[in-house]
């Protein structure tokens, strides 16, 4: 293997071990690796943002428009977001800081206008439909589908009952909220199981790298 490549891999192994060293106890090498990750991520993000957004979405259209070569109307509109963006910086000047409210109002207005209807549609209305649709005779495929439909409906209603705080949780509502707690616990249990699986996958990735992409080639190269 190329010595430079091997050196880079050894560096990766060093930082992997530096991060793992936290499992023994907090130490300087871990802190160094942690700070390096944060610093590099931030630097990388800045460069990517500069290359993919500032240059292509602002500087390019701006210079083209100023040079008299606008490529279609959208380029001329570039002055609007630039002006709004610059207004955000007025927050640093107390006398004119109120101007920053204009772009903030624009951001909040557009954000809410787009997010609220689409969010309700995707996360509420379209989710209610399959909860009830399972009871349509056309969707019945046997006792199993009946059981599933009732289980899902019961889980949804009892789960919601647990979060209904306008009445005391006694009687029927109390019973439903207790079932709701069980439904939630089963949900959390499934999530926890998946989380364990995910973390083991990540550890597997690192160990696999240490053994087969670093130690293996290193041993083969040495002997």
């Amino acid at each position: 293997m190329d010595p430079v490549e091997m050196l880079l891999r050894t560096l990766a192994v060093f930082f992997t071990m530096a991060i793992f060293s936290f499992l023994w106890k907090d130490n300087m090498i871990y802190k160094f690796a942690e700070h390096l990750v944060v610093g590099i991520s931030m630097g990388y993000w800045c460069v990517i943002l500069y290359q993919t957004s500032f240059l292509s979405k602002m500087w390019g259209p701006l210079t083209r428009t100023l040079a008299g070569h606008p490529e279609g109307m959208p380029d001329r509109l570039v002055f609007v977001p630039i002006a709004l963006g610059l207004l955000l910086f007025t927050r640093f000047f107390p006398k004119i800081s109120w101007l920053a409210r204009i772009p903030m109002a624009f951001i909040l207005g557009v954000g809410s206008g787009v997010a609220i209807p689409l969010g309700i549609q995707a996360s509420v209305i379209q989710q209610i439909h399959p909860t009830m649709a399972a009871f349509q005779p056309a969707t019945w495929t046997g006792v199993g589908s009946w059981f599933n439909a009732i289980l899902v409906l019961m889980g949804v209603v009892c789960g919601l009952a647990y979060f209904f705080f306008s009445a005391k949780h006694t009687g029927i509502l109390g019973g439903m909220s207790k079932i709701g707690i069980w439904v939630l616990m089963i949900g959390f249990g499934a999530s926890f199981g998946y989380t364990v699986m995910s973390r083991i996958s990540l550890l597997y990735g690192r160990v696999n790298y240490l053994v087969f992409e670093w130690a293996g080639p290193l041993v083969r190269g040495l002997f």
């Binding site: 023994w24 787009v114 997010a115 998946y194 083991i200 990540l202 160990v207 696999n208």
Partner: protein
């Protein structure tokens, strides 16, 4: 002589046991078969049924920290697409993953002798995923005037006549974060294109309800989902090998949970007996 108490076991022994449970299976043969779930099969079958030349859009949103779980999905899907001569349009709406995703596409494309701009296009990264997903629904050029290599989309042969989601056969969001929510809400919710998701195992349980509602037509959950996909594609690789690791380490974790609980109740009973 002091009696050994499992509840006072140094947690570093547990870390060591977990490490060994991951390390040891690496030297054993990978499982021959992995049971395939319907939600994974639906994604595979749908891509498999596409005629050559169709465009599959892969929204890869993961960074190197989640690469162990997400890269196997991306690689196996890319191999399937290129084997079937499908064209691939890729984005990466996570800044720290841009170069990783690029290297994976180029690696698989080289295996199948596919050419950038003809067989695949990598659009790269733009900030604010919700705005970008909405803009791509109108025109890919609004969100990405040029691709990752700064070539204008109008100058890319593959992008001729490709305007928005209506011109792609399906979108597969390979995401390690809650970025799938953006694709469901702002993408599928607004433009109604066929959407599937490949989520990290942490996120996967949150998206099963979207399968029932039809907002997702398929779901690949974590490394397990990737292993199932590799099984379907008959290309066992890293994910399939990881299943033995998962089984052994899960058995150990379950054993430790049971042991910890039993020890806790025994200790409590003893304490109460002494009182």
């Amino acid at each position: 002589m002091a009696r050994f108490n499992i509840l006072e076991l140094d947690r570093r022994f547990i870390f060591l046991m977990i490490f060994l449970s991951v390390l040891t299976p690496l030297f054993l043969p990978a499982p021959k078969t992995v049971k395939v779930s319907p939600e994974v099969k639906k994604v595979y079958d749908r891509i498999e049924a596409l005629p050559a030349g169709c465009i599959v859009m892969l929204a890869c949103e993961y960074d190197p920290s989640m690469s162990a779980e997400m890269s196997p999905v991306n690689m196996v899907v890319l191999r399937q697409c290129f084997r079937k001569n499908l064209r691939v349009l890729t984005t990466c709406l996570m800044s720290n993953g841009v170069s990783l995703v690029e290297s994976e596409i180029n690696l698989v494309a080289a295996e199948y002798d596919k050419k950038n701009g003809v067989d695949y296009v990598y659009l790269g990264y733009k900030p604010y995923p919700a705005a970008i997903i909405l803009a791509m629904g109108e025109d890919f050029r609004l969100a990405f005037p040029s691709d990752f290599y700064n070539t204008r989309l109008d100058d890319i042969p593959m992008m001729k006549g490709v305007k928005n989601y209506q011109d792609v056969s399906l979108v597969l969001a390979i995401t390690s974060t809650s970025g799938i929510d953006y694709w469901i809400t702002y993408g599928q919710g607004r433009y109604r294109f066929p959407l599937a998701a490949a989520a990290s195992a942490v996120m996967a349980p949150n998206y099963y309800n979207y399968l029932d509602s039809g907002q997702l037509f398929g779901l690949i959950g974590g490394l397990r989902g990737a292993a199932e996909y590799e099984q379907l594609a008959k290309k066992p690789a890293a994910a399939t090998k990881g299943m033995l690791v998962q089984s052994v380490s899960h058995l150990l974790i379950v054993g430790l949970i049971v042991l910890g609980n039993v020890s806790f109740f025994v200790a409590r009973r003893r304490r109460r007996g002494q009182e």
